[in-house]
């Protein structure tokens, strides 16, 4: 689960995130919407401890990410817009390395293959170099990594942009499966349709501030779009 309390970040005085307060419990999918530069990626980078907050705290499972950088990452999975892997290694080797870094016992070959299969990667692809993978296939390695780590919290940064509708749909199904298993998901996206489909709540960000939070079951697709565009007006 994710928790942000007064979380703020400025770069040389320019505010990127302005006192974000947010809690995402286990099993919830929370979608962050907003224009480029609204602060979505900054939020994710703060939870990853890739950048240090100017004020406030970001917690994962109640642990401050700055104070417990390794422990929080053990509980965390991250899928960026482009899951970048080592192109000269196979999907299996990439997964083995990244899972191995989690400090856990490195799962057996068969175990890793099972995770890749669960994530929807064709069996023959596991032993191919990642160079030859499509974006969707690389996303699936990312999902397999999240499953293998048994991550209770997932950060997704525009994971479906550039995926074809079928791949995007498959991805959503995987996400729902994981959320049903109790994973808390924070997903930054531009895709209002996906947000409404998979999200439990959506938050709309503007100029570093979270300006509105909506329950997706309370709004229709067109209404969500209307509210979103309303906020984007200056």
């Amino acid at each position: 689960m994710f928790e942000a309390v007064g979380l703020s970040k400025s770069y040389n005085g320019a505010v990127a995130l302005d006192s974000l307060d947010l809690a995402i419990p286990a099993g919830e999918i929370f979608c962050l919407l907003g224009a480029n530069g609204a602060g979505k990626t900054t939020t994710i980078n703060l939870f990853l401890n890739f950048v240090a907050p100017t004020a406030g705290v970001a917690r994962i499972d109640g642990l401050d990410v700055v104070g417990h950088p390794l422990e929080t990452k053990r509980r965390l999975a991250y899928i960026p817009e482009q899951v970048m892997l080592y192109g000269n290694l196979t999907g299996l080797e990439n997964l083995g390395y990244l899972v191995g870094l989690s400090g856990a016992e490195e799962p057996s070959d068969a175990g890793l293959r099972a995770f890749l299969a669960d994530a929807g990667l064709p069996a023959e692809a596991a032993d191919r170099r990642v160079k030859t993978y499509s974006k969707g296939m690389r996303q699936k390695v990312g999902i397999a990594l999240a499953m293998a780590k048994g991550a209770g919290s997932m950060l997704l940064d525009e994971p479906t942009s550039g995926l074809d509708p079928k791949a995007s749909n498959e991805f959503s199904a995987l996400l729902l499966k994981m959320s049903e298993a109790g994973t808390a998901v924070l997903m930054a996206t531009h895709d209002l349709f996906r947000a409404k489909e998979v999200g439990d709540r959506v938050g709309i960000m503007k100029h570093g501030r979270l300006v509105e939070i909506l329950e997706t079951r309370d709004v229709g697709h067109s209404e969500l779009e209307r509210i979103y565009l309303e906020h984007m007006k200056d």
């Binding site: 990626t41 990853l48 890739f50 390794l70 990452k73 080592y86 290694l89 990244l98 191995g100 870094l101």
Partner: protein
């Protein structure tokens, strides 16, 4: 964790064709360097074998001729008589003072090709034999040989930089850094793991190739101290490699793109490997210039001409100074030019002495300056250390020259009394002619210099490494 990162890095390198190309290139350079070094060693050994054969042949001929002389008949000319001490000492009985190639000379010729490694001993002044040179390719002498020492000092850093200029920047640019650091691993651990993986690979290769090559090239492990010297060689290569890896890490830690890193590191290489040694060279020769050789030769000529002109006078004075060497009235050898020559030589020696001393002093000052300033450039530090442990350094040459000096003295002590007393050589005297036995520079002389060099390499490596790891705190992981 560190081991997992290292294994992964090796796997990535193994899957990368350009890494293999770099390794193959290193192998080719090492092979070429070692074959050049062993060619030099072979040349030196062959030359010494020829000298030894010449010497034993000449001495055998001399003894045979001495035995053939009819003891009752007086020879027509004393300077053709094989029993005349001056003839034995200055021409037919001359022995060589020789230094064998350094224990690891096949690995690093160093400046050994600039120094003479054999002298034909004579009763005359030191000047008459000390300046004998090999006829060599002057461009080789100027540029130095493409030996393994050259590969280690000049090319090895390039290989290291080629493998690690984008240690972290490449991961950031590919986007794999974010994926990796989203796992519970510190950036410091990752960077260290990657450096160690590459260092282990490169150093293992460099050491295995060079020691294997050295053994093939005839480095003799049974010679005393050779194992210790190989150990020092390995430590020097490791220390020098560590410096370049630490530099690459420190530059990577600044968080610039790979292209910037490449330019910065290439500039460092040029500054430390090319420019600094050249500057040091210029500084040394302009601060402590060696007196002109022409001046020395002129001084010798003047002194010789002057001394020869008053030859008889000098001879008389010589006997006044050395009454114990006065010949018996029945001395068999006439007081011909060979005897006068000896008296003249002594006078020349005394005149030349201060000029020679100035020469040696300036050379010593130059070396002292290099010793002090070598730590400014790891390349100079490493080269000096490799020369030291290989037995191809100036210090080892001086060690040889000191033995040659002692031998010259022994030679003169043996011959001059016989010449001046105008005695003839008895058969037993031929066996008693002094022989030169080279004693290798002992390890206790080499090790402290090599040890200082190791500290001089390790200290900046550790400092750079720590600075790099500290700078990683501010490393921009994204963007």
């Amino acid at each position: 964790m560190l081991l997992r990162i290292m294994r992964h890095d090796w796997r990535c390198l193994a899957a990368d064709r350009s890494a293999w190309a770099l390794v193959a290139l290193l192998g080719a350079f090492v092979g070429y360097g070692v074959s050049n070094g062993s060619a030099w060693v072979r040349f030196q050994r062959d030359t010494l074998a020829t000298a030894a054969q010449d010497e034993s042949q000449r001495l055998a001929d001399l003894r045979r001729d001495a035995e053939d002389v009819d003891p009752k008949a007086e020879p027509a000319f004393a300077w053709l008589d094989p029993r005349t001490p001056g003839v034995v000492a200055g021409t037919r009985g001359q022995r060589f003072a020789t230094a064998p190639p350094g224990p690891l000379a096949a690995l690093d010729v160093g400046q050994a090709d600039l120094y003479p490694f054999y002298f034909k001993m004579t009763n005359r002044t030191k000047q008459t034999f000390i300046a004998g040179d090999e006829i060599e390719n002057p461009s080789n002498l100027l540029a130095g040989r493409f030996d393994l020492g050259f590969v280690v000092v000049q090319l090895f850093p390039l290989l290291i930089l080629g493998l690690s200029y984008n240690l972290l920047s490449a991961e950031r640019e590919q986007g794999t850094l974010a994926m990796t650091l989203a796992q519970p691993v510190r950036l410091r651990t990752l960077a260290l793991g990657k450096v160690l993986a590459r260092a282990a690979l490169v150093l293992t290769l460099a050491l295995a190739l060079s020691i294997g090559g050295g053994l093939l090239a005839g480095v003799d492990l049974r010679r005393p101290d050779v194992l210790a010297r190989l150990g020092l060689w390995a430590a020097t290569v490791a220390g020098y490699g560590a410096f370049w890896f630490a530099l690459a890490l420190a530059v990577n830690a600044l968080g610039r793109p790979s292209s910037t890193n490449a330019v910065v590191l290439a500039a460092c290489w040029i500054a430390l490997v090319v420019v600094a040694p050249a500057l040091l060279n210029v500084a040394v020769t302009s601060l402590h210039p060696v007196p002109s050789r022409v001046e020395l030769i002129g001084a010798i000529r003047d002194a010789s001409a002057e001394a020869s002109a008053e030859g008889s006078h000098l001879l008389a004075r010589y006997y006044e100074d050395h009454p114990e060497l006065a010949p018996a009235s029945s001395a068999p050898v006439p007081a011909d030019f060979l005897v006068k020559l000896q008296a003249v030589q002594k006078s020349v020696d005394e005149t030349i002495e201060p000029v020679m001393a100035r020469y040696d002093e300036q050379l010593a000052r130059q070396q002292a300056l290099v010793d002090r300033w070598r730590f400014l450039s790891p390349a100079v530090t490493a080269q000096e250390a490799l020369n030291d442990v290989s037995g191809t350094s100036l210090a080892r040459h001086k060690h040889f020259l000191a033995q040659v000096d002692a031998f010259h003295k022994e030679w003169q002590d043996f011959f001059i009394p016989r010449i001046m007393r105008r005695e003839r050589f008895a058969p037993a005297d031929y066996d008693a002619i002094p022989k030169f036995r080279f004693r290798e520079q002992p390890l206790v002389e080499v090790a402290p210099r090599a040890g200082a060099a190791l500290i001089g390499l390790a200290a900046p490596a550790v400092a750079l490494g720590l600075a790099g790891l500290a700078a990683l705190r501010r490393y921009p992981i994204t963007g």
